[in-house]
Symmetry: D2
Subunit: 309 residues, 4 copies
């Protein structure tokens, strides 16, 4: 047991850059501020390492909170090789890409009144119901263009959606040929739209077929790294994908607001993942606890500053 | 704005029953203790109401924590009509049903050492790796017996697994013909086993086909109620299933350790669900924040005491 | 690294006692449910050990939530030798003892309206402002009866208040000659009342004099144990009191809803206290994370059941 | 119920300033990222308003985490008129001012080993025990120089300490004649040192006398604003100080990692404070939930950027 570097008291400067601030948090080195700085170090090393296949997990209502563009920008800059998302984030990505907007709202209000005014609430973000009218029109149109035949994979379905959209995460992924996996797609408005379509049509989407290319990617990877925004299905799906290979993730950064002592995977430390072999014994891995609407932009802005200069 | 009942100071009595304790928390009525007592009231009303289709959502690592038997007992007593689970809980249910055990462990230990001793960690629960050897044998056996042909649904696959098991959640569900949905099944060891099987065989499991019977259940229900352990996919999949119908859930109880201000669905209040129409404007709905290894047994024991007497 | 006992799946029984439930949680042994059962074991051992001086720390708004009677009952049964409290809990204890009541309210309401209706809110508990009118009358009366002279200690002031009250924590403590310490007494309505009194009178209350008898108790103790409800000043004041002695606490149970990774003492694990020597290297110590309106009554009811039989 | 501005997706730019990032979070406007941006707006307005008496509350182990210099810099720049702190932060401020250092450590380690190597742990910060040797020497020296006589106030005692130190929070406060209040001073190493001194000497420190000048400040203030880092005694002591006046706080920003549903003041929303009249009905008030080692430097750097330009 040894003391490391001394804690350096943080000195702020008007006009300092995000990268400078995160470096100062690193020299202080304590609690989640210190963890964030270490996470920036791991993420920078992961992005600079040419041998690494870069996974990204996206959970939590990040697109309604304005965090979607950070994801699509990372894809456009070549920093994402594989994206795993919840269906909800993809639903809201489509809604934004169609020109509908989410709005500043309030978390303490009458949800009954909101219901009557046809406004859906996501904590303090409001989404008028008519966005779903446009969403339905778009989705039914895309489904109609699918040619029946061999079972479709979820990844192919999402790529098709991406090609039909002008902007956003799915569009960036399609343009850059980055695969998007979403094992729980049925658990989203996209799933509900599929059900609607299936009342009159039949196209089979295979629940498991995506594991084939995903595990091929894992087997072929010399090294692997993961940036995990939130927990949920994306975190587990990414981490478990290495279990069948002789390797594990070499780099991992997790930004989560959950807590470990409840036992759930979303709040579990990355050390726990070491016991399973999901990440390697020697992996560089950091968990930052906090709201990703703060930690995600901080992390990415700091690392972009270091890498793009 | 009006004051309700006076807060009654809690008087404890040696040997008091769980139901008596929860009633005392209800007369105190404050914070999560009060919420737990109100949740017991809602859950009791939901179970007593013959018109209600009773949904249960199961997320978080509940089976490794010894909470699985509460679920299977509820199924056996007829208190669950539809179960939606994460793949992980079903994986661990199968492991326990096969006679393998989870063990008391520690949350603060060397995960590298655990890795070397082939012990997997779930917070402070240990699971020796050889459980997965038996799990693999069982799963490959069941997969081999499936007859190729028309696409299988996840629900049918899980029912097949349940019929092959002597005890546990899947077995109880199969025995009682309670459907088990698991939209993110690929995101679990069951999914990985399927991938292994698919290296040499081909059986198509449809990602969306389950929505048909689930939504039929929703359309047919006179009333609906939900007991949600944790958030994640099960919570959303259950709540969104009502969106396509003219109705919403009439009763809802959520036990979660997450927090609402991060915007994620897992920590979202049930009031938020009112704005979407997932639960009705007049629904009886309570969220209890806390570790479900405490709140879930408390809630169920208290309600069983009232109902079975 | 070794596996402990197998996790036993929890079997609930209608009418089971709280002690039976907590024992079942102990055999499951996971997460905070398991921690609660271990905490019950530590607390039971602490109460059964005749050599132990029993400290209790009380933080968080426990009295408004109906948890005050559990404290006064523990005092009356001889299970508390030293109480350290926040000023707020003592203020609300006096209010209840004067016959004023707290009321069931709501956490999502207009605080501006509440203000206009002269109702004070504590999360979902309401306290009409007129309680403070009676409180003021009582406090000014007690202060007036104090004889000016040598500096008073906070402990003596609180004992004087306790003797003037018919029931509650302060009354039980006075009746049983249990000292009540409250180092931050100025930070409460009691402090504000003192300020009011001091506009026209002068009685000196010494800020530090209480440390003398408290540390004497610590030096004289053969063994020491602590039950800490919440963190804050009471937790630290109790734990630090051992720092000057050659000993540390031998038993410690902490019930807190905070989290450790923020670095604050309130959420800190008891293991951290071991590094400081506040608790001994071999101490039996357990932290249970969760809302104390649930964990506190559960813990005490379970232990009373074991001890009183 | 109305929608506000549309959520603007956050666009990051390498080399962007902290102020630019916080502004982008404000245009996104969601969850705690949005709250942080609104808090920056409130804090900026509070600092720009010449009529405002500016209070600062400091709780949580902020100095060991390297956040102390932000506080002393704010004092030096004239942005703090009244500081209320925990005793622990002042203890660690003295330790740093004496040239002792805190060190980067680890949160998952053997606290028994740490104990044996005489290293004290604060989550992942290590503090070698010898710091307390120097601390004791300094404290006993200062106490010895105090002239016995009329009761001392805590504020005067802290000013005396500040004048004897070369740097840090207490030194900046003394230099700038900013009063520092610490109602729970007994609950800290400073209190223990006082006890040690009092074994052979006698100086009376009055527990309540500080309320006189503090409440005078409150009565004299045209307007009042508060920046609250953490909760605890500092938060309550600041907010309650307005209760005796006809006014309340006009501006309030709270950075806390606690949660409101546990009922404790530390996690309570500032809206709750409105019902008590601690803040005015029309006050600009924002709570940001998260680790203050991230939110505090972000907030201050962003506001300094706006104000100093």
């Amino acid at each position: 047991m040894q003391c490391g570097e001394p804690v350096e008291q943080v000195a702020l400067r008007p006009g300092m850059t995000v990268g400078e601030l995160v470096s100062a948090l690193g020299r202080a080195g304590a609690y989640n501020g210190g963890a964030l700085a270490r996470a920036a170090g791991v993420y920078e090393a992961m992005l600079r390492d040419d041998q690494v296949v870069k996974f990204m997990g996206l959970a939590g209502a990040m697109v309604p909170a304005g965090m979607g563009r950070i994801v699509s920008d990372l894809i456009d800059r070549g920093h994402v090789d594989v994206l795993v998302s919840t269906g909800a984030n993809l639903t809201h990505d489509i809604i934004e890409a169609l020109g509908c907007r989410h709005y500043h709202g309030s978390s303490c209000c009458s949800d009954v009144e909101l219901r009557q005014e046809e406004i859906n609430r996501i904590y303090d973000v409001f989404l008028p119901n008519n966005a779903f009218v446009q969403f339905e029109e778009f989705m039914q149109g895309v489904f109609s263009d699918l040619s029946p035949g061999a079972p479709l994979t979820i990844r192919d379905l999402l790529a098709t959606l991406g090609r039909a959209l002008p902007s956003g995460i799915l569009a960036s992924a399609a343009r850059n040929e980055v695969p998007v996996y979403c094992p729980a797609l049925a658990d989203s408005m996209i799933g509900l739209q599929y059900w609607l379509f299936s009342q009159t049509h039949r196209i089979t989407v295979d629940a498991f077929l995506d594991m084939q290319p995903l595990l091929s990617t894992c087997f072929d990877a010399q090294k692997a790294g993961a940036l995990l925004i939130g927990g949920g299905v994306p975190k587990n799906f990414i981490l478990q994908s290495m279990l069948m290979t002789p390797r594990g993730f070499d780099y991992a950064v997790q930004l989560t607001g959950d807590r470990p002592d409840l036992g759930g995977l979303s709040g579990a430390t990355l050390d726990e993942a070491r016991s399973w072999g999901k990440i390697t014994e020697a992996a560089s891995a950091v968990t930052v606890y906090g709201d990703a609407t703060i930690t995600f932009p901080l992390l990415v802005a700091a690392v972009m500053e270091r890498i793009d200069v």
